[in-house]
């Protein structure tokens, strides 16, 4: 987190982590497509010729509150291929929350576990306390035949304290919900540790509304929570 009091600006860094081809870039593409053009920058992707993420993807999202406080989100993905271990660590530096994108297929279980451990190890190596950086788990690719059942997902949820969201990122399902859980966790954590709410004069609800009113929530459960504001700021 970077808080610039002089410029009344808060920047949060959020990282999408997970095994190769689990759908991290797809999540960012979906958020990009659903964000109002005024509230987002370009989606910066550096890919190999096989469409694999080479370094990272970056999507900036920015909104300004009524009181003139600017909130900027920097959404990153890490490269999933095994060889990019060092890049994953570089991208993960100073992150405020992590979305762990897991592949729901049973055959991907071992990969998911391996990357979960890598995430823990990378955090440790970066001096991040795993208990102080919230993680949200997305079970992506729920539509594939080999995917784990809802019961199994429920069991996975019970094995830890992290919020768990099911998703089919290619169709945009669960992407907004994951982002919502991610921002909520990040906010609560920073508020608890650094009194963010008092410091910048925003409640959690105001913070989330500020962002989610800039996103197209059609067809998601969040639509009712954040009704579209017609006139943009």
């Amino acid at each position: 987190m970077q808080l610039n009091h002089a410029q009344r600006e808060l920047t949060l860094k959020l990282v999408y982590y997970g095994p190769g081809l689990s759908g991290k870039t797809t999540n960012l593409r979906c958020i990009h497509a659903r964000a109002r053009p005024e509230a987002r920058g370009r989606l910066l992707s550096v890919e190999t010729h096989e469409d694999r993420t080479l370094f990272f993807d970056l999507l900036p999202v920015f909104v300004t509150s009524d009181s003139g406080f600017k909130v900027k989100l920097k959404l990153f993905t890490v490269p999933g291929q095994v060889v990019h271990e060092a890049t994953r660590r570089v991208v993960l530096q100073g992150t405020d929350a992590v979305a762990f994108i897991a592949d729901s297929r049973r055959s991907a279980g071992a990969e998911n576990n391996a990357y979960w451990r890598k995430l823990r190890a990378n955090m440790r190596e970066n001096g991040l306390d795993a208990t102080q950086v919230p993680v949200v788990i997305q079970f992506n690719k729920r539509d594939l035949p080999d995917a784990q059942t809802d019961e199994e997902l429920e069991a996975a949820r019970k094995r830890g304290g992290e919020p768990v969201v099911g998703a089919v990122a290619l169709r945009g399902e669960g992407v907004m919900e994951t982002l919502h859980a991610l921002l909520q966790s990040a906010w609560r954590n920073l508020d608890e540790r650094m009194r963010l709410s008092r410091n910048i004069g925003l409640t959690e609800k105001e913070f989330l509304s500020l962002i989610f009113q800039q996103l197209d929530l059609k067809g998601t459960g969040l639509e009712a929570l954040y009704p579209l504001v017609e006139k943009q700021r």
Binding site: L3, R42, K74, T87, V90
Partner: protein, 500 residues
């Protein structure tokens, strides 16, 4: 957290490394190549005949091209009053950010780069338009476009007439050379500038970030490798030390064991020879068993001592002229008793003609052949066959010089393929189970390898499990270093202590 930003919580853990470029706000200077960007702006200014200046938020100018206002402004600036008014206006524009409250007017529509276009009027009647450069929600700088002559301006304003020392008639003539433009036209031109700038910024941001992240990745990789290297070096140092201690310990212990054992064997031999009186047949048999087992133990201890000497780098080869045929025959006699006891057929094949003598350490070379033969005899079941072959002296392909070859072939148990490399290691046994069938310390072949290589030769092995093995050694006629007197066999691992 960047140094110029205030932290909310001072207790927040500080990152151990310098912040990544991904945590930093980029500037225009990071993303644009000054030289080529300057060329692009030059060509745009030339095309529009209007001045264009691009500045970042710190006031650094990235590009600056003059327009068609040169003669007019030069004329106005020739007066001291005009010059000071001009400087004041430019200072206000350059310092930014401008707000409509300060006098500038809002131009209709928003900039294609985000933010609002502001017009700033000069006291001469000319006009500037200022376009903020907003990227990813951050204002990074501004484009100052102009001055140009507004289309709706019919005559130079009274504010120009107030300037001391400016002749209005001449000013009107020169103002005619300044490009006259409508607001709409200016809007279109700025949209074009903004598109070009956006394209350059997108490309620049991408290459700057990827370049920097690549660099950070390389540094991160190097940091990890250096840590691992340091760990490995510490570990290696400890292993070397442990290895040295082991060799020295084995050497000492073997020596200490050998001395009393020699006495045991010596006294037993005296007993057996009846030097202190006759023995009955049963006593004789017991004493012979003591001698035989004592000799076995002595050989074992000797080989441990040999190996520890090799590993400590203390083995010296004493080269002399050796008749290999005679040496092989003599080695054969030493394994004859065991072979006969097991009922093995022991064959020897020598070259048809008498060979010239070779240079070698007689004792060591004899031990090589004895070890190979003893090994073959040990691992060949009763009724089998062991054959030793000595080649004629000739060119040896493996060595690239003249030499000879000794091969020991058996019909024994054979060696599985995955173990063929390792059997030459000290203490290695194919069967290392506690219930193994064959005894020994696993040193015979390690000694063979060291001695052969000390002679500049090579060992080789072909084997088939269940059918038998063939060990070969190929040796040069003269070891490479034999001309320089005795040579030391280099130890198999680097036990050289640190010197610096």
């Amino acid at each position: 957290m960047s140094a110029d930003k205030t932290s909310l919580a001072d207790s927040a853990p500080e990152p151990q490394r310098t912040d990544s470029v991904l945590q930093r706000r980029l500037t225009l200077v990071d993303m644009l190549d000054p030289e080529t960007f300057g060329d692009v702006v030059d060509s745009l200014g030339e095309l529009y005949r209007v001045g264009i200046r691009v500045q970042d938020t710190r006031g650094r100018t990235l590009a600056d091209v003059k327009g068609s206002n040169g003669d007019f402004c030069g004329f106005v600036n020739a007066s001291a009053d005009g010059r000071s008014r001009c400087a004041a206006l430019l200072a206000r524009v350059n310092e930014g950010p401008l707000t409509p409250a300060q006098g500038p007017q809002l131009l209709s529509g928003v900039s294609p780069l985000g933010g609002q276009l502001l017009t700033v009027s000069c006291f001469t009647g000319l006009r500037y338009v200022v376009m903020p450069v907003v990227w990813d929600g951050d204002e990074l700088g501004q484009v100052v476009f102009g001055p140009f002559l507004p289309e709706e301006l019919s005559d130079l304003p009274p504010s120009l007439a107030e300037v001391e020392g400016v002749e209005l008639a001449r000013a009107r003539v020169l103002a005619g050379r300044v490009r006259r433009m409508s607001e709409e036209k200016v809007g279109k031109m700025l949209a074009h500038v903004a598109q070009v700038l956006a394209a350059l910024l997108a490309a620049g941001q991408k290459s700057y970030l990827t370049g920097q992240v690549h660099l950070e990745t390389v540094l991160e990789t190097q940091r990890v490798l250096e840590t691992q290297n340091a760990q490995l070096m510490r570990l290696n140092q400890r292993l070397k030390e442990a290895d040295r201690l082991k060799s020295s310990f084995l050497g000492t212990v073997s020596h200490e064991l050998r001395t009393p054992l020699s006495s045991i064997i010596g006294y037993s031999e005296m007993l057996a020879e009846g030097l202190v009186g006759g023995l009955n047949p049963e006593q004789t048999q017991f004493v012979r068993t003591i001698i035989e087992k004592g000799n076995t133990l002595l050989k074992l201890i000797s080989s441990i001592l040999d190996m520890s000497q090799i590993e400590a780098g203390k083995v010296r080869l004493a080269f002399e002229w050796v008749d290999v045929q005679e040496l092989v025959q003599s080695a054969l006699t030493s394994v004859m008793p065991q072979a006969q006891r097991k009922g093995l057929q022991l064959d020897v094949r020598m070259p048809g003609t008498v060979q010239e003598r070779v240079v070698a350490d007689r004792e060591k070379l004899r031990q090589v052949v004895v070890n190979l033969l003893a090994n073959a005899v040990k691992f060949t079941p009763g009724g089998g066959r062991v054959e030793v072959r000595l080649s004629a002296i000739g060119q040896q392909r493996e060595l690239g010089v003249e030499g000879y070859r000794i091969e020991v072939e058996d019909t024994g148990v054979g060696i599985p393929e995955d173990q063929r490399e390792r059997i030459f290691q000290s203490f290695y046994q194919v069967d290392d189970s506690p219930t193994r069938e064959y005894g020994g310390a696993g040193l015979g072949l390690a000694i063979v390898k060291s001695y052969v290589e000390g002679h500049g030769g090579r060992v080789s092995l072909t084997s088939e499990v269940g059918r038998g093995s063939c060990f070969g050694v190929v040796l040069p006629l003269e070891p490479p270093l034999s001309g320089q007197g005795p040579a030391y066999i280099p130890p198999p691992v680097d036990t050289e202590p640190d010197r610096f």
